[in-house]
């Protein structure tokens, strides 16, 4: 029952934006360009969705008596006090006030009753809710089928749902941020509420700016469609469904980046985003193929028939892991065993094993999709270009939700990843976070800085996941969503206030003009930089904003990983350094924009604070950005996220050969060390930024001149675009041209020469016809004619002669007969 309720609630939250989209796009809003109704519909849909998601989270929690929060209390006794205190703190992504109330009593009650059971939460993957009455109370994962697409033999493709704590947190987070951003966008996009919008970035050939009707309603329609797709991706109960919505968010991203369709740069960026995503999806598709071929199902959880019996194991159940967390290998051929439960649950495939390398291929394939979507190295270049879209889009799609989908998917698909894949993920994340951070240092466009910062942070998440910090990576995802959407909205507010000026060198000193924006932005900057004040309350705790806790978790996991595998020491060093760089470029941004003296008086004079509808979301988000992660890894958010973490994560993997992955205890033991190092890095980054940009005592231009080689290298984004242009785009166009040429010249050439040969042959044929065949016929005709001509004299026309001829003829015949018979 609970499962159905949850499913229904989440489906309402999921499908409402789709209805909203339909109404907004087909509702005839092109007739009234000045109406805000479309926006209100969109806000209504997504806000209702938020309410539904939040209630779903509450119902879920009450149903299992908040078993996940209790787990921490049991596992980490010493943290009990601080957790209790943190309950009072505001935050926990908006639902917290309610959540806390319900949590108090069951949390205590459970401590005695179910403590040990809850520890292995992920083994409770018994998704049929009424299966066993006594387990109902503790059940945390619900899965089932919504809608069947097609069935072929034993293969079935369907839309499923898979609801666990991660799903619920993501739902609540996405709907909440989306609501805020919708509201913000109503202000930001209000310029579109006109019949005659002047696009200053689109130039006509006659030198004028483009005038067009406003497209307010269309923007919100696309936003609604995006929300639908994103939520569909989160609720997805199978990897195919993820892929479906993966593509859908891709197209929404395309539509939103290219919202200013008239701008060449915008449509180029949209195309680039979509095509680079497709490159990732190509890998995703390969992963899907492997999974489909060897496992015969895409579902995460088990499938059930109408009676509630398990008919087929889900992917997560099929891959068996031994005590150490390694995948089980068959004794016969060394391949990985599929379907540990019952073999009969996999009716499609006679195969019982999958080669290990294919498991790696599947994992890397799926991860390739994540690389594309989350703009990881080497497909990171589309995200900065995607800033061509309106700023709310950047906030929602390209920082908080869609790009995080890749991270979400890695987290969701975690049980299927083997060590090699995880290591790849870690290294990809590591490279990405460093490359993006270095580029951010030299970027001057306010949105571009944030974009590179997003890429870098996504790299952190990937790194966290890659080094077996499942909770850390996803924790960072959620906190990052809050502070990054906050910062993007702040930048939107700045851009709006400065009349679409995005270049930071033209800003400066805006602190006085837009205090709310500057203050909320500062909160975001502190959060992302990971600044903290240790020991403010007592020695064992730190006072910090959300970013510190999550980044701390990632860095700690990385440290634990490096300790276990010293060969991969870069995985700790690079993020540590980058933590400093992050603090540097973020504070650079803030100082550049808000502090100091105005650099462009024209911009400064016309600058103004945004209206309330835009600043209110900023304030709400800033509160959350600051406090959502309260309590760190013992706080409610982290515990909620990790409530249903994959079973093998907690203990780590101690491999006999290959990588050893750290468990919770290992991570916990290095936590303080890592936190201290990260804090030092962040503080030094902040300090340098303050020195360079805050105090204006150091000549930045001089530094830039001295390091011009490095600077131009970074400003050109490590030449990735040029590289891709050279090694992919041009060859592709050349190949295209070649194919077209081949078609035109070779195939058609063959055809035409065949035709020519035919014509040639037919000409000879004609000559033959005319001379030989016709000649023969003519010969016969001519000779007949001449014979006739010579005989015509016989035809005298004289009756009497004819009679004579007859007689003579008869006589002659007779004579011939006689002579012949006689002979």
């Amino acid at each position: 029952m609970v499962g159905e309720t949850l499913r229904n609630l989440l489906m309402i939250a999921w499908l409402l934006p789709l209805c909203g989209f339909a109404i907004e796009i087909f509702g005839g809003f092109w007739g009234s360009r000045k109406s805000r109704l479309a926006a209100w519909i969109a806000v209504g849909c997504i806000a209702t969705g938020f309410v539904c998601s939040a209630s779903a989270l509450l119902i879920w929690g009450r149903q299992n008596e908040w078993v996940v929060l209790d787990k921490a209390g049991h596992g980490h006794d010493e943290a009990g006090h601080s957790e209790g205190e943190n309950h009072a703190a505001p935050g926990h992504e908006g639902t917290a006030p309610h959540a806390e109330e319900h949590k108090e009593e069951p949390a205590k009650a459970q401590e005695e009753k179910h403590g040990s059971v809850a520890g292995s939460g992920s083994y409770l993957l018994t998704s049929m809710e009424e299966a066993k009455a006594d387990q109902t109370a503790k059940q945390t994962v619900f899965s089932g089928t919504i809608y069947r697409l097609a069935t072929f033999g034993g293969l079935e493709l369907s839309l499923d749902y898979y609801i666990d704590s991660l799903t619920l947190v993501m739902f609540t987070m996405v709907t909440f941020i989306a609501t805020c951003i919708h509201l913000f966008a109503m202000g930001y996009m209000s310029e579109e509420l006109t019949e005659e919008y002047v696009d200053h970035h689109a130039h006509l050939r006659n030198g004028h700016h483009l005038h067009r009707p406003g497209r307010f309603y269309r923007f919100f329609a696309f936003l609604s469609l995006f929300c639908f797709s994103m939520l569909g991706l989160v609720i997805a109960g199978n990897i195919f469904q993820v892929f479906v919505f993966w593509e859908l968010v891709g197209i929404c991203s395309f539509l939103l980046i290219g919202f200013y369709t008239e701008r060449k740069s915008a449509s180029n960026a949209a195309n680039k985003a979509f095509i680079m995503n497709r490159v990732g999806d190509f890998g995703f598709l390969i992963g899907l193929m492997v999974i489909w071929t060897y496992f015969g199902t895409f579902r995460f959880g088990e499938s059930h028939n109408a009676e509630g019996q398990v008919t087929q194991a889900g992917l997560f159940q099929m891959l068996a892991r031994d005590e150490a967390g390694n995948v089980t290998k068959s004794a016969e051929n060394g391949e990985v065993v599929i379907g540990a439960a019952e073999a009969s649950l996999n009716p499609v495939n006679s195969r019982k094993t999958i080669p290990y390398f294919l498991l790696v291929v599947a994992g890397l394939g799926v991860f390739a999709g994540c690389i594309g979507k989350s703009a990881q190295f080497p497909l990171q270049t589309w995200l900065p270009d995607a800033m061509e879209g309106p700023t709310p889009v950047s906030a929602l799609v390209h920082s908080a939700t869609m790009v995080a989908a890749g991270v979400y998917l890695v987290g969701r698909f975690y049980p299927m990843f083997v060590q090699e894949v995880l290591l790849t993920i870690a290294y990809v994340g590591c490279i990405t976070l460093f490359v993006a951070a270095t580029i951010a240092v030299v970027a001057t466009d306010i949105k571009k800085v944030l974009a590179y910062s997003t890429i870098s942070q996504l790299g952190y998440m990937m790194l966290g996941l890659g080094v077996f910090g499942w909770g850390a990576g996803l924790f960072h995802l959620v906190t990052h969503a809050f502070f990054k959407s906050l910062m993007f909205l702040c930048s939107g507010s700045v851009i709006y206030g400065c009349h679409h000026e995005q270049e930071m060198p033209k800003m400066g000193g805006l602190w006085k003009k837009m205090p709310i924006t500057a203050f909320t932005m500062l909160i975001g900057v502190i959060a992302i930089s990971g600044l903290a004040i240790p020991g403010l309350i007592n020695l064992s705790t730190v006072f910090a904003f959300s970013g510190f806790f999550s980044k701390d978790a990632v860095v700690a996991t990385a440290l634990a990983f490096v300790k276990a595998n010293p060969a991969h020491f870069l995985l700790f060093i690079v993020p540590l350094i980058t933590a400093g760089i992050t603090a540097f470029y973020m504070f650079r941004l803030w100082f550049y924009t808000f502090a100091g003296k105005p650099r462009d008086m024209h911009v400064y004079d016309h600058c103004h604070e945004a209206p309330l509808i835009m600043t209110a979301p900023l304030m709400v988000l800033s509160v959350l950005a600051a406090f959502c992660a309260v309590g760190g890894e013992k706080g409610p958010l982290f515990l909620l996220i990790t409530g249903d973490q994959p079973g093998h994560v907690a203990h780590g993997i101690s491999a006999t050969n290959g990588l050893t992955l750290p468990g919770h205890d290992a991570i916990h033991s290095v936590h303080g060390q890592a936190g201290l190092l990260a804090l030092i890095a962040a503080v030094s980054g902040t300090a340098i930024a303050w020195l360079l940009y805050g105090t204006e005592k150091v000549n930045v231009a001089e530094i830039k001149r001295q390091l011009s080689g490095v600077h131009s290298f970074l400003a050109n984004k490590w030449h990735f675009d040029d590289l891709y242009d050279a090694i992919f785009m041009r060859p592709m166009h050349i190949a295209g041209k070649f194919c077209a040429w081949f078609d035109r010249t070779v195939f058609d050439g063959i055809l035409h020469s065949a035709a020519k040969i035919t014509v040639f042959v037919s000409q000879w044929d004609r000559k033959f016809d005319e001379t030989v065949v016709d000649g023969l016929v003519n010969l016969v005709g001519n000779s007949t004619w001449s014979v006739g001509n010579s005989l015509r004299t016989v035809q005298t026309g004289r009756l009497r002669q004819y009679v004579m001829f007859i007689v003579v003829g008869v006589v002659a015949l007779f004579a011939i007969l006689i002579t012949s018979f006689a002979g």
């Binding site: 006509l204 190509f282 598709l285 193929m289 489909w292 499609v348 592709m732 166009h733 295209g736 078609d743």
Partner: protein, 525 residues
């Protein structure tokens, strides 16, 4: 209504309509158009009725058997099953929509409409006939009107295109004829028969042709159908035919005619020579993959809008061939990827329908702008989103359907085919999957050049008026169908799946028989 009767009506109603057209006043073109539209709509209505009467569980619905040329055992034998039914409905739909699009034809309206309706008769006949001879006759019947429709109402190089189309298709049908006679005379069927159902039944029991003969017969049939499909390297008629044909004819060409190739393979080539099919499976998949990649690359380089769409058809139909042929066996002759093959077959069938919708729509959308500005140079468009917003929106939807976006019909066919392909050959599967990147590339690039941008760069900017109700209606219907099939593919799969499954199982059985015959032969030697 009696379903038996319905099948004949579907075939001959358009012909009857064409005859009645002769009674109209030549000057009253409007009345003739409305009449033809009514006829095509009626035909479509009957096909819908057939859809609702058809029960997927009953398998092949053989109906309407009449003597035709009894001396040669040729029968007028019609029937429908889950494989042909969707294509029949698609034919009805595309014909109706193309007829709506035919309002732009003003030259020799009567002749055009008569040929159009004859064409519909031919198409319906091909999909409904169960007698090989009858099939062949309808195949040819459809060829001639098409030749004239391209050759008379086409663009500047219409004669060239029409001849090219004609010769290619004729070459294909000659090969088909040879194969047909092989089945007739060498099949061991007594009395000699053209009955496709009976022949398929024999083949599944291993009694039709010897394995070596099957290889020959399949090769002949396959080349014939591949030309129609069209598959690399016999696809070059398609761009020319498409570019020169008038818009409605392009719609029919892409929407229905190309499907005949796929239909022929699944209806005739596979069931009648399972051994040959298996023998050529890898070749077919490889050709499919090459078509996908090659078509996409060629599309990428086009500057002619219609040519781009035409090459996209080559690419998309490659998925059909790919899905049909992913049939893998082990040494014992057992099919080891049965479910995946069925998925591929179904996916291929779905891809045919999906391509029928999206490609029809794309050609129509090209035609709409061509009617206005009379050029198709991609580099001379731009900014249509501003001047023709509704049209551009619909076009974008249809192009996305062609791109294979989830929620639209193109996705299901493409992805089903591709993900089932790994079980056949990982390398080819990967190559096929790479098609998604190229597809995105050429479609988005084309859309960018035509619809996006600040302003229109070509001649006749004043002619770019917003689309009228007729054009919008066609676009809406196609887009709606693209969404419906994208969201609820079960609508089609429920109909197709049982028939496809039966076909696949028969082919598997037939292969096993043939393979054991071959083994015995070798053992004797």
């Amino acid at each position: 209504m009696n379903p038996f009767f319905l099948l004949s009506i579907l075939i001959f109603l358009p012909l009857l309509g064409a005859l009645i057209l002769l009674m109209f006043d030549e000057r009253n073109a409007e009345a003739m158009r409305f009449w033809s539209l009514a006829v095509t709509l009626m035909t479509f209505g009957f096909s819908i009725a057939l859809y609702f009467q058809y029960d997927p569980a009953q398998g092949m619905l053989t109906a309407e058997v009449k003597d035709w040329i009894p001396t040669w055992n040729v029968y007028y034998r019609l029937g429908v099953d889950g494989i042909s039914l969707p294509l029949v409905v698609l034919t009805g739909l595309v014909s109706s929509l193309a007829m709506v699009a035919s309002w732009s034809i003003t030259k020799h309206v009567r002749g055009y409409l008569i040929l159009f309706l004859m064409l519909e008769t031919g198409m319906m006949g091909v999909f409904l006939s169960l007698d090989f001879f009858l099939f062949y006759v309808f195949w040819e019947v459809m060829l001639l009107p098409m030749y004239f429709l391209i050759g008379v109402w086409g663009g500047p190089r219409k004669e060239y295109a029409a001849i090219k189309f004609f010769l290619y298709t004729l070459a294909g049908s000659v090969l088909m004829l040879v194969a047909m006679l092989m089945f007739y005379f060498y099949s061991g069927a007594k009395p000699e028969s053209f009955n496709l159902v009976a022949l398929a039944d024999m083949a599944s029991k291993g009694g039709l042709l010897s394995p070596n003969m099957q290889v020959t017969a399949f090769a002949l049939l396959f080349i014939g159908f591949a030309i129609k499909l069209p598959a690399f390297p016999v696809h070059t008629w398609l761009p020319d035919a498409h570019v020169e044909a008038p818009t409605p004819i392009s719609m029919i060409l892409a929407g229905v005619l190309l499907k005949m190739g796929g239909y022929g393979i699944i209806r005739i080539a596979f069931p009648l020579c399972p051994y040959g099919a298996q023998y050529f499976a890898y070749t077919m998949v490889a050709i499919g993959v090459i078509s996908i990649i090659y078509g996409a690359f060629a599309a990428l380089a086009q500057t002619d809008f219609k040519r781009l769409v035409a090459y996209s058809s080559v690419s998309h139909m490659g998925y059909v061939l790919l899905g049909l042929a992913i049939w893998k066996i082990n040494e014992a002759g057992d099919t080891i990827n049965s479910s995946y093959w069925q998925m591929g077959l179904n996916g291929a069938m779905f891809q045919m329908i999906a391509h029928g919708i999206s490609s029809t729509g794309m050609f129509f959308m090209v035609g709409v702008v061509y009617d206005r500005v009379h050029h198709r140079d991609l580099n001379k468009f731009g900014g249509l989103m501003g001047t023709m917003p509704l049209y551009s929106g619909l076009a974008a939807g249809l192009f996305f359907a062609g791109l294979g976006l989830p929620g639209l019909c193109g996705f299901i066919g493409e992805v089903f085919v591709v993900i089932s392909c790994w079980s056949f050959s990982p390398m080819l599967a990967i190559l096929a999957a790479s098609g998604v990147i190229l597809t995105a590339g050429y479609i988005l690039w084309a859309m960018q050049r035509v619809y996006l941008g600040a302003e229109y760069k070509g001649p006749h900017p004043e002619a770019l008026t917003p689309s009228n109700a007729r054009e919008n209606a066609v676009g809406f219907i196609l887009l709606a169908l693209a969404i419906v099939f994208g969201v609820a593919p079960a609508l089609l799969f429920n109909v197709m799946e049982p028939s496809v499954k039966a076909m696949a199982q028969a082919a598997e059985a037939g292969y096993k028989q043939s393979a054991s015959q071959l083994n015995e032969l070798q053992a004797q030697r």
